[in-house]
């Protein structure tokens, strides 16, 4: 087993990794920026070291500082969490070169799956359905038109190096191709330093479904019950659940088998997620995330498996504790509580948390770095807490979610808590199987909708 792991992250995910380390008897080293001196990840780790200033480029993204901290403290591995350096192939390579185990797949795998075009090709080679479209990058508008002639319009032009909707254009007819190609390529070049784009059929009413996988170094793999992450806002997931409501058994099975076959073909190690779109009864590969995801607790709740502990075991050269298709029990939902005001365009909120009351009781899990008095800083992402509820049925999980959100109080700043309560009251959502445009299509943020009762307590004059 690993002896000492440096956690190259902050917030709730740093806590998550520190917890798993402690349960396995591994010493943990927290790194923190000067803005995070009072953060729980610093306080709860076995050791802590300040690596740079508040701005992430000088601290949580500062590769030399992190490697140097790992060497100083004698860490034999680094867990990157998610975000920051988690999918940075160069960072993984440097770790390997410095004889520090990077907790994740090999750097080549990260690089391969980080490029959308090569990832698509790898998926296709593993027999995983990909959206009909170009085989590789489209070098000019004419190649996009070829694709259009073959698979039909509307088309979606996407950046090879892309993510977050940048360098992405919907093209409804051949006449729109030239302008869209030029602007997408320019935007991709500006955002990622790589202007290459590719084209695929644009699917409209779609759901985002993904499969969590694990693999160890001896080639044993495991695929978990699928997660439905269709409730999004501008490609940012807000609520995830498992299993996906109302999905045909064949699609479920198909996605799990596809994910397992991709992982096997890649010689993957560690935890990863294979993401699909599901539309019109068919599923297609979108991308693979070669890291732990924010929503991993949903899977932990239904499967009863500690995914971070599995990551640590695999990184230690030990075998997985599960394999094949891991069964689930009941239904789990995760709510992301962000420091954003859903009534004002999700404007990020900062400042001190005054009253803090996380929910408790049966079937409730909270992963959060908050405490009363904690100051939410403007330097990092807005995720404050993840609330995960689990129950025997989806209906019971929805009720438990509403109950838990209702007693979740974070006063002093606006959060997505009321939005989640409004989502739970929405009829389409309750029925299950909403599309990714669910939030764009409705006004769930009206004043007074789903105000948690204790949050109101904290702000009596509001």
């Amino acid at each position: 087993m690993l002896k000492k792991v440096l956690v190259a992250n902050r917030g709730e995910i740093a806590l998550r990794v520190i917890r798993a380390c402690r349960e396995l008897g591994i010493r943990s080293v927290a790194v923190y920026s000067t803005a995070d001196a009072d953060s729980l990840h610093r306080l709860l780790a076995d050791e802590a070291i300040c690596i740079g200033p508040a701005h992430p480029s000088g601290s949580y993204l500062n590769i030399p500082a992190i490697i140097s901290a790992a060497e100083l403290r004698g860490a034999d591995a680094i867990h990157p969490g998610y975000g920051f350096l988690a999918e940075n192939a160069r960072f993984a390579e440097i770790c390997e070169a410095c004889n520090i185990k990077f907790i994740g797949p090999r750097s080549e795998t990260i690089a391969l799956m980080g490029d959308k075009v090569s990832a698509r090709r790898a998926a296709a080679e593993a027999g995983v359905p990909v959206t009909p479209g170009s085989d590789g990058p489209c070098r000019n508008a004419a190649e996009v038109k070829h694709v259009g002639a073959e698979v039909g319009y509307p088309l979606l032009i996407k950046a090879s190096a892309g993510g977050g909707g940048k360098g992405m254009r919907v093209v409804r007819s051949e006449g729109e191709v030239d302008a869209a190609y030029t602007s997408a390529s320019r935007e991709a070049g500006a955002a990622f330093g790589d202007g290459s784009v590719y084209a695929e059929r644009y699917l409209e009413k779609l759901r985002h479904i993904e499969v969590q996988v694990l693999a160890d170094e001896s080639g044993v793999t495991a695929a978990f019950p699928e997660r439905d992450c269709s409730v999004q806002r501008r490609y940012q997931k807000l609520l995830e659940e498992s299993p996906a409501p109302g999905l045909p058994e064949g699609a479920r099975e198909g996605m799990k088998k596809a994910a397992a076959s991709l992982v096997e073909r890649l010689g993957y190690t560690g935890a990863g997620t294979v993401e699909f779109v599901y539309s019109g009864g068919e599923f297609y590969f979108i991308e693979m995330n070669t890291r732990l995801q924010v929503e991993h607790p949903v899977t932990e709740s239904v499967a009863g498996v500690d995914l971070v502990a599995e990551q640590l075991r695999v990184a230690s050269g030990e075998g997985l504790s599960v394999s094949g298709e891991v069964p689930g029990r009941g239904h789990a939902i995760e709510f992301r509580i962000n420091a954003e005001d859903p009534r004002r365009g999700f404007l990020p909120q900062t400042g001190p948390v005054e009253f803090y009351n996380p929910p408790g009781g049966p079937g409730v899990r909270v992963d959060s770095h908050l405490y009363a008095g904690y100051k939410v800083s403007p330097y990092y992402d807005s995720l404050l807490a993840k609330l995960i509820v689990q129950a025997e049925t989806r209906e019971a999980a929805l009720r438990r979610g509403a109950r838990a959100l209702d007693e979740f109080a974070i006063s002093g700043l606006d959060t997505t808590l009321p939005l989640h309560l409004a989502i739970l009251e929405d009829e389409d959502f309750r029925r299950g199987g909403v599309y990714t445009d669910f939030l764009a299509e409705r006004e769930l943020t009206g004043a007074g909708a789903g105000l948690p009762r204790l949050a109101a307590v904290g702000r009596p004059h509001a």
Binding site: E47, C50, A372, K375
Partner: protein, 171 residues
């Protein structure tokens, strides 16, 4: 981190210039309180409670939460502790490490240290090396003055922002 004000004492007029300097010092320094007393004269300048680490600390409303974040450390690994000591080191300037790494007082093994306590240094003069990932970072002094104390241990690890030397700036 430092006090300013050389209070004049005796005189009839209030030493408001001195107070002003203390206030500026306080605001710039992030220190919680400055109190100066000389003879019959005493000047106290305190930061607004929520402006310091106090507000960052857990809840205690209205009482002294001050020690909390520092106390949290236990292990003594943080630059914050050194920083917390600073207010005691009157008039001294701390040169801090801009990187995480290993602290070396000399340019190479077997050679003498860049500086010794008592030396006078110029701003820009190399005080030490902090090695990070085999890279030798020469750390210059950011003030001119006298080296009063070496705060880190040779060949030991230092954090970002950790004080390495105390320098008494030239007047």
């Amino acid at each position: 981190m430092n006090n300013g004000g050389e209070p004049k004492g005796e005189g009839k007029a209030l030493p408001l210039d001195d107070v002003g300097r203390l206030v500026e010092l306080l605001a710039a320094s992030g220190v919680g309180e400055i109190r100066v007393r000389q003879g019959e004269l005493e000047i106290t300048v305190k930061a607004k409670p929520e402006a310091t680490t106090l507000a960052a600390a857990p809840p205690p409303v209205g009482t002294t939460v001050e020690p909390l974040p520092h106390a949290a450390l236990g292990s003594g690994t943080s630059s914050l502790e050194a920083r917390a000591e600073a207010p005691g080191t009157n008039g001294l300037h701390a040169v801090r490490s801009p990187v995480v790494g290993t602290f070396y007082r000399a340019p190479a093994p077997g050679e003498g240290p860049y500086v010794e306590v008592g030396d006078t240094v110029r701003a820009g003069q190399t005080l030490c090396i902090v090695e990070a990932m085999k890279l030798m970072n020469e750390i210059p002094s950011d003030v001119s003055g006298e080296v009063v104390e070496v705060l880190a241990e040779n060949s030991g690890g230092v954090e970002y922002d950790q004080p390495l030397f105390h320098i008494r700036p030239e007047a």
